[in-house]
């Protein structure tokens, strides 16, 4: 039987989904698939496009690979635009002149950005945001610009504004409508979003119609608005909506909608039954769907119809939840309350800048829509209620009111019916998840790979976890907090065992209380506990196999396998002589040198064999290890304080040095950071540290459990006006209590949030000694302090240890894979492309140096 020929025009997200679904179908082998793309690469994840600015590469965004297509017999022609369709002969032609015949033709041509017809809109720094090439153009333009304007304050426009901000520009958003995200938000929601975005430094101009783009006086361009005002800028990014790419349908006589879009029926066929249209180019029931999930549904429907199935497309929900410029925004269903007789519930919290509105039916029984700005934690509960048409609880407002202590708020995942959609990107319902859980997928990771839930935008991950835990609990599976498969204990329980039974080795602990051989989770965790408790030399033979490479070589491994060197520089203080030694070492070993965010100097790019001689010179000059590699105290940041500063209340530098010298080397469940400020102006940012100290006119205020990093948390004020002695006593107790009770790799911020009783309880334990353990805590701490030794000093003194500091055990040769490129007067690792001899080509690389 000869195969049916399928031609797919466009290899975007939806075109690829169609191909992937068809080749994985049981009847997949009956088709011969060819796809054409106008773009130079196969499908990539447009939804995550902005991630490109935070370091993702085109490869990271790719949704498939040439190999994947090759292995499945899918032909692909890139950089080849389809320009003609002959419906009678059933062939298509391309720009390059290729002719290809088809039995079924699939149009998945997506859409293109709409650029309003403003005179001057075609200049070099007027750009759009849709493809990887667009991003490259933005990046290039941003390098020569200071100010950027985004035209359009919708979803994509705000995402683009974020991208420009990340590129370091001063950003303005110009919107024609009177408010931001007019489609998804109501007036109050739009206004709150605006004030939040403005607070982040993005300037918003609403109700502005641009009439002309002319040369600027101070900047490259000037935008002239209908109301007579103007705005100067160096680049302009149009994000004023999308238009379906229906050019082929227009030219070759397929039905199109009044305002564009290729008309399709419920089977996704166009007016020619042998031609299908799917994704953003398709118009169903007079609607275009500018999101990826409906496009995926269309792709599945088209495959089903082709292979004799009976799936149909029945529209899609356009609810959205996202984080724009760090602001959470959610919109569900009828966000504007357009339904006849609908009622609203509004919750507005001025202090925390949160706005939520529910739109419910006239009889108060059904949820019609919702708007959320500043807090979208209810999105996951509300969306399924709206989609499944479940009855609302008798007081619908409880669904958006904040939960007060101890009281269960709203409805949990448990209340949702099985049909409730949990992952809208991949269309996975609660029922699908439950089925998969019963089939043995009992971790979030397994559920993800088995059902696909959470692999799109990632927004549903928390819900997936909740469904999993609720279901496991129902199945009677104990949701345990065991550290890993080798120990049936939590970290806290293991620590208790180590302390009370005085274990000093992992092997002994494993054979008495664990099973198997251990792993990369339990080994470093136990090493950390042993170190907190007994503080033995971390490179002792027994402890060596437990440590991550950073601890084994007392430096942080970098991407190319070399290490960094961070000498301790307590409180950020350093003598000129010290600086000179560091400078000489960096010069002699050609180390990339940079100040860290922790007030000290980092030297990058040392090879294993170079570490000992470098550290020898540092130790001889009086430096100690900075423990940048350990789960231990990092830095105590300080401001200059009363010794120099005219506002300083106390000597913050001396206190910071005292604290850093006291706690250096202490191993903790995760790293800990501290800071001391000399007055309430807080130049040392103490309130963002695990332990923060701020001077007052009466003593020290102590702040605990702050955090920068992935999820910043302000520290809690724990005690005020302390004298030096009490301050140190409290910090000793605090650290040791944290060491004894936290989970592995749990920062103090998260530990505090999970501590039953919270801050008040912590005060009871540490200040009032409620548990009667303070003496022990202090004793444990003084053992750590008394047994401190500089690991690098000890290491360079023992020739036995130094043998490991070589790339090869049997040769003095260095690692010949290392290659460097000079940039701004220093060297950095060469990228893969640079190592291959720069096939990318455009950028001139000054020099590439191979290590010999």
């Amino acid at each position: 039987m000869s195969k049916q020929k399928i031609v797919v025009v466009g290899n975007g997200m939806v075109g690829h989904k169609f191909i992937d679904t068809l080749v994985n179908d049981t009847k997949g082998d009956q088709y011969e698939i060819t796809t054409f793309s106008e773009e130079p690469r196969l499908a990539y994840d447009r939804v995550q496009l902005s991630a490109y600015f935070s370091g993702s590469t085109a490869e990271d965004l790719a949704m498939t690979t040439p190999q994947y297509y090759d292995e499945r017999g899918v032909r692909y022609l890139l950089n080849d635009k389809v320009t003609g369709i002959d419906k009678a002969a059933k062939t298509i032609t391309t720009e390059k002149g290729d002719v290809e015949s088809y039995d079924k033709l699939i149009l998945a041509t997506g859409s293109y950005p709409f650029v309003p017809p403003i005179p001057g809109n075609d200049q070099p720094h007027c750009l759009v945001y849709r493809t990887i090439e667009d991003l490259e153009a933005m990046t290039a333009s941003a390098k020569q610009s200071r100010i950027g304007v985004v035209v359009g304050g919708g979803l994509l426009g705000l995402e683009a504004a974020n991208a420009l901000k990340n590129l370091g520009l001063e950003v303005h958003v110009v919107e024609f409508a009177p408010r931001l995200m007019a489609v998804q938000l109501d007036e109050a929601g739009g206004n709150l979003l605006r004030s939040k975005i403005e607070a982040l430094g993005v300037q918003v101009h609403t109700g502005k119609a641009t009439q002309n783009i002319v040369d600027g006086q101070d900047n490259r361009y000037r935008m002239e608005f209908a109301d007579g005002t103007h705005l100067e800028t160096d680049m302009i990014l149009f994000s004023a909506g999308i238009r379906p790419q229906d050019e082929l349908a227009r030219q070759f006589d397929l039905d199109i909608g009044e305002r564009g879009g290729i008309v399709i029926n419920n089977e996704c066929q166009t007016s020619d039954p042998d031609i299908y249209a799917i994704g953003e180019c398709a118009l169903w029931n007079n609607r275009i769907f500018g999101l990826v999930a409906p496009g995926y549904s269309m792709a599945k429907v088209a495959v089903s119809h082709l292979t004799g199935g009976d799936d149909t497309f029945e529209g899609a929900d356009m609810s959205t939840k996202l984080k724009l410029l760090g602001v959470e925004v959610g919109s569900i269903g009828d966000a504007h309350g357009n339904t006849q007789g609908s009622l609203s519930y509004v919750y507005s919290n001025g202090a925390e800048q949160i706005y939520k509105r529910l739109i419910v039916s006239a009889d108060n029984k059904k949820l019609l829509g919702a708007v959320m700005v500043g807090d979208t934690s209810d999105y996951g509960t509300l969306l399924p209620i709206m989609l499944t048409g479940m009855d609302l609880p008798s007081n619908p407002e409880t669904l958006i009111l904040p939960v007060s202590d101890g009281e269960a708020g709203g409805m949990g995942v448990d209340a949702l019916p099985d049909e409730a959609q949990i992952c809208s990107c991949l269309d996975v319902t609660k029922g699908d998840l439950i089925e998969s859980i019963h089939a043995g997928n009992q971790t979030v990771a397994d559920l993800k790979s088995c059902t696909g839930a959470g692999t799109g935008c990632g927004g549903c991950a928390a819900m997936v976890g909740q469904v999993l835990n609720a279901e496991l609990e129902k199945m009677g599976v104990e949701v345990n907090n065991n550290i890993c498969a080798h120990f049936d204990y939590s970290r806290q329980e293991l620590f208790d065992i180590v302390r009370t039974k005085k274990y000093t080795s992992f092997q002994q602990l494993l054979s008495d209380h664990g099973q198997g051989h251990g792993c990369e989770i339990c080994k470093p965790a136990v090493a950390s506990m042993l170190a907190t408790q007994w503080n033995e030399y971390v490179l002792k033979d027994e402890h060596l196999p437990l440590q991550d490479t950073n601890d084994v070589f007392l430096g942080n491994m970098q991407k190319d396998g070399t290490y960094s060197i961070v000498p301790r520089m307590a409180a950020g203080e350093v003598t000129p002589e010290g600086l000179i030694v560091i400078g000489e070492i960096a010069r002699d070993y050609n180390l990339y040198t940079k100040l860290t965010g922790g007030q000290r100097i980092d030297l990058f790019g040392a090879q294993l064999h170079e570490l000992p001689p470098i550290w020898k010179r540092l130790v001889d000059a009086g430096f100690e290890t900075g423990h940048a590699y350990g789960k231990s105290l990092r830095t105590v940041k300080s401001c200059v304080g009363s010794t120099w500063c005219r506002y300083g209340m106390l000597d913050s530098v001396s206190m910071a040095i005292l604290l850093e010298m006291r706690y250096k080397g202490m191993r903790t469940p995760h790293k800990v950071k501290m800071a001391v400020s000399g007055c309430t102006r807080e130049c040392a940012e103490a309130q963002s540290k695990d332990v923060g100290v701020i001077a007052t006119d009466k003593g020290w205020n102590l702040y605990l459990c702050g955090n920068g990093g992935m999820r910043p948390r302000h520290a809690d004020l724990f005690a005020t006006d302390l004298d030096d002695e009490t301050l140190i006593k409290y910090i000793d107790r605090f650290y040791m209590f944290y060491c004894h009770t936290a989970d592995r790799l749990q920062r103090t911020s998260v530990w505090m949030e999970n501590l039953e009783g919270g801050l008040d309880y912590l005060k009871d334990v540490i200040i009032n000694d409620k548990l009667g353990i303070c003496d022990n805590l202090e004793e444990d701490m003084s053992r750590v302090i008394d047994t401190y030794e500089c690991e690098w000093k000890k290491t360079i003194e023992s020739p036995e240890r130094l043998k490991r500091f070589a790339h090869f055990i049997n040769s003095d040769a260095p690692d010949e894979n290392l290659a460097y490129v000079e940039e701004r007067g220093q060297r950095r690792p060469a990228s893969e492309a640079e190592k291959r001899g720069f096939p990318g080509g455009e950028q001139a690389i000054p020099a590439i140096e191979l290590v010999d």
């Binding site: 080798h486 051989h517 251990g518 080994k523 491994m557």
Partner: protein, 109 residues
């Protein structure tokens, strides 16, 4: 075959459950000695994800009886006996015969 064995170091250099890297011809070979059994394994030292020569510096772990090394860069796990990556079944790295003869660790590559 026997003349292709290359001696790389004294067995006493190997600390149980850690690895070292040896240069065998042009190959970077990671050699591990397992705690308890004392068994030896040799695999490529190059992490195919991070494209750096570092695997001998990874932690050794065990899952369902299989021993592996976790890359020190991004923690992908490679099974010691056959080089299969446990986190991406499309990736396998080279393995090499290894043995101890008269106290010397020898690799064939």
């Amino acid at each position: 075959m026997s003349d292709s064995w290359i001696s790389v170091c004294d067995e006493s250099v190997l600390i149980p459950d850690t690895g070292i890297c040896a240069k065998v011809g042009n190959e970077h070979v990671a050699i591990f000695k397992v705690a308890g059994s004392g068994e030896l394994f040799a695999i490529s030292n190059v992490c195919p994800f991070g494209k750096a020569s570092v695997l001998s510096r990874g932690l050794i772990g065990e899952t369902n009886g299989a021993l592996y090394v976790a890359s020190p860069l991004l923690k992908q796990r490679f099974r010691l006996n056959d080089g299969v990556c446990l986190d991406d079944d499309e990736v396998t790295i080279a393995t090499y015969p290894v043995r101890v003869t008269e106290g010397q660790v020898e690799v064939a590559a």
